[in-house]
């Protein structure tokens, strides 16, 4: 049974750029919450520490990689971010 987390995730499809160990990777945000997000793209080579640039929001958030598969990665933000109600 999946335990619903207190922090709600919002499904989306937004572009983001991830920087890790000096390398840049363009990917898509699949879902996002105040504490983290799930990205899809060429993310397999990312290091442990990342910085995510949300292009639409003009926001830059540092984070750590929580889990990873070949095409997807889960990120924990180092600080909570505010999400609009829209």
């Amino acid at each position: 049974m999946r335990i619903e987390r207190a922090v709600k995730r919002r499904l989306c499809s937004l572009p983001a750029t991830v920087y890790s160990d000096g390398l840049r990777t363009d990917c898509a945000i699949l879902d996002i919450s105040e504490r983290g997000c799930q990205l899809e793209g060429d993310v397999f080579g990312l290091g442990n520490e990342v910085e995510i640039h949300f292009q639409d929001a003009k926001l830059c958030v540092p984070g750590t990689v929580a889990w990873k598969t070949y095409m997807r990665v889960g990120i924990h933000f180092k600080a909570t971010i505010g999400l609009s109600e829209k």
Partner: protein, 346 residues
């Protein structure tokens, strides 16, 4: 029991290395008088230099004890008319060249023996065939036969191992590995199992999964060039042991390159499977993104296999305990991949 007749030749030495994984074998020196064999003998292996004067005579003297139904495998350096004639004179049932270690291990005398091991999975021919195939490949690589990821034998063994691990699971594979005696061979086959399951879980595309499997089978190939005393020492605390052991990654890389390995991912994984994300590994102290993702996966599978390995110097670890220790390595490993690896441990 199998009886292995040997002398001091290179053929004898290499045969002993190859058969080290095949269970209880009574080794008898041809120069000694034939001993009294009290246990029931299933078959005979003759591994001595047939070119040496007196070897055939000594062999015939020992083989007087052999019953007609007991097979005799003769291991030779090459297959020519003279050697074949001498093998026939001994009464050989089958002749194998030592350069083809896989062929020797696939001989029914060993295959049957392997299947007869007391394992709850011994009645699973698919699983046991997959393990026997990979044991044969590891034996070949560890005894110096040139093997690359392009080798047909290696690819057949990898396909069988992947199919078997994806259908039967890691637990069945690990249980069946109890039949493999050599710790070095068992380690390689454990790493293969963890790597393939890990690759499947991370949804690696099939070509990359096969590369990871090949790299895990070949990752310790350099240990074939290290002194056996150091590899088999339970407590490797002697001064200089670590430095010698650390050379196995470069040795393996050089061996594979000399054999003609062209796959960069595999060469990189063999050379760098002891590098850490924080730059504290060896041989090149690489950091973060400098380490390729397949290599990071192999590092995790290799570490986990080392952690669950039974050693006389420490109590047996549960898989959960071993995983906690893996997590405790923190930023040395790829944190995202370690989190995903939890699915392999379950």
């Amino acid at each position: 029991m199998l009886v292995l007749l040997t002398d001091t030749s290179e053929i004898a030495r290499r045969t002993c290395e190859v058969l080290g994984t095949s269970g209880a074998i009574r080794q008898i020196n041809l120069k000694q008088a034939p001993p009294l064999l009290t246990d029931s003998v299933e078959g005979w292996i003759f591994a001595a230099d047939l070119d040496q004067e007196g070897t055939v005579t000594a062999g015939i003297r020992h083989l007087r004890e052999r019953a007609l139904e007991q097979p005799l495998i003769v291991v030779t350096a090459r297959r020519d008319v003279k050697t074949s004639a001498r093998a026939s004179a001994l009464g050989a049932t089958r002749v194998h060249e030592i350069s083809n270690a896989a062929g020797l291990l696939r001989d029914p005398i060993f295959a049957n023996r392997f299947m007869a091991m007391p394992s709850p999975f011994s009645n699973d021919p698919v699983l046991m065939a997959a393990i026997a195939g990979t044991v044969a490949i590891v034996t070949e690589t560890m005894t110096g036969r040139a093997t690359t990821s392009a080798s047909e034998d290696l690819n057949t063994a990898i396909d069988a191992a992947i199919a078997s691990l994806q259908t039967k699971g890691v637990a069945a594979w690990l249980k069946a590995l109890e039949a493999v005696h050599s710790p070095t061979y068992r380690h390689v086959l454990q790493v293969l199992a963890f790597a393939v399951s890990f690759g499947t879980l991370t949804k690696l595309p099939p070509p990359l999964l096969r590369k990871l499997a090949a790299a895990s089978l070949l990752h310790d190939i350099g240990k074939a060039k290290l002194p056996v005393e150091i590899l088999n020492r339970a407590d490797r605390t002697a001064p200089g042991d670590d430095a010698i052991l650390q050379t196995h990654v470069k040795l393996g890389f050089e061996m594979l390159r000399a054999y003609g390995e062209r796959d960069f991912d595999i060469l990189d994984a063999v050379l760098h499977h002891h590098e850490y994300m924080d730059g504290s590994g060896y041989p090149h102290r690489m950091k973060g993104a400098q380490i390729r993702p397949l290599t990071r996966m192999l590092t995790i599978a290799n570490h986990y296999a080392n952690l669950i390995e039974q050693r006389p110097s420490r109590p047996v670890r549960t898989k959960q305990d071993a995983y906690k220790r893996l997590q405790a390595m923190g930023h040395k490993l790829d944190l995202g991949l370690v989190a995903t690896f939890k699915g392999v441990v379950r």
